[in-house]
Amino acid sequence: MLQTTHSPMNFAGPFADMRRMQNAMNQIFDGARLPTQSWTYPPVNLWAAEDGIVITTELAGLTEQDIELPVEDKVLTIRGTYPAPQSGDEIVWHRHERVDGAFSRSVELPFRVNPDLINARFGNGVLTVEMQRPEDAKPKRVQIKSS
């Protein structure tokens, strides 16, 4: 049953509806987090500073040996293979939601990075890759002389 309360002394204004709508939208997108629903896997978060980039991605269940990180010019690729799920006749499956199989994702970086100065760590199912801009690609400061 629809109930409407009219309370002229408590006027919320036209923005109340907008806020409600925003909340509803946020709730919809909160649920859309399963990696299987995404076309690009794995999703990454990227941070940048003047001369460095940090990329993180969640790869629960992998070990550092399962991940490859080739870098070419401005593109970092994250490749890996999840271990095959348990199999056998004696196993009865109830639910299988976790990701398996192989994946490959290439991320274009905001600038070229030095392939010798890449620091990659893997802990608690999260891969963190730190990259540095090579010396010759750093923006140069031009000295202006007074005439």
């Binding site: 909340n23 509803a24 946020n26 709730q27 909160d30 649920g31 987090r33 399963l34 990696p35 690009t40 999703p43 990454v44 978060n45 990227l46 941070w47 940048a48 500073a49 460095g52 940090v54 993180t56 991605t57 969640e58 790869l59 629960a60 269940g61 992998l62 070990t63 799920p85 348990q86 056998g88 004696e90 196993i91 009865v92 499956w93 109830h94 639910r95 299988h96 939601e97 976790r98 990701v99 905001p110 608690n124 199912g125 999260v126 730190e130």
Partner: protein
């Protein structure tokens, strides 16, 4: 065989943005559940959670998995793109009486929680021998 475990749907989140009681978000971890040799195994993905921040509680027949996430942001950097969000993980399961609750085993490795729930001996299938008359 009786249904051992009932779960909530994976596509929801435990706590939403609109919930005024909590400002942080919580996510439902994806799980695998299978049974082998009378033991039910639950694997739950909880990346970004440190082993000491995982809580598994059993109250009556409700098993709750809770993983607390410490937010991460590299110092001196600004966020350029965020394709995934981080937050705590919460998921509940209802266990049947057939689980031997004293023998539940939990391990946490590489962001994955592994729970082993053995069936209690009384619940193991019994074989009744039929004698010839």
């Amino acid at each position: 065989m009786a249904q051992v475990i009932t779960t909530q749907d994976a596509h929801g989140v435990a706590t939403n943005n609109g919930d005024a009681n909590r400002s942080a978000m919580a996510f439902t971890p994806t799980v695998d559940i299978f049974e082998r040799d009378g033991t039910t195994v639950i694997l739950a993905d909880m990346p970004s959670v440190a082993p000491e921040d995982v809580d598994v509680t059993l109250e009556h027949r409700t098993l709750t998995l809770h993983g607390k996430v410490k937010p991460y942001a590299p110092e001196g950097y600004r966020a350029l793109t965020s394709e995934y969000r981080i937050g705590d993980y919460i998921r509940n399961f209802t266990l049947s009486d057939e689980i031997d609750q004293a023998k539940i085993n939990a391990t946490f490795k590489n962001g994955v929680l592994r729970l082993e729930l053995p069936r209690s001996p009384e619940a193991q299938p019994k074989k009744i021998s039929v004698k010839t008359g």
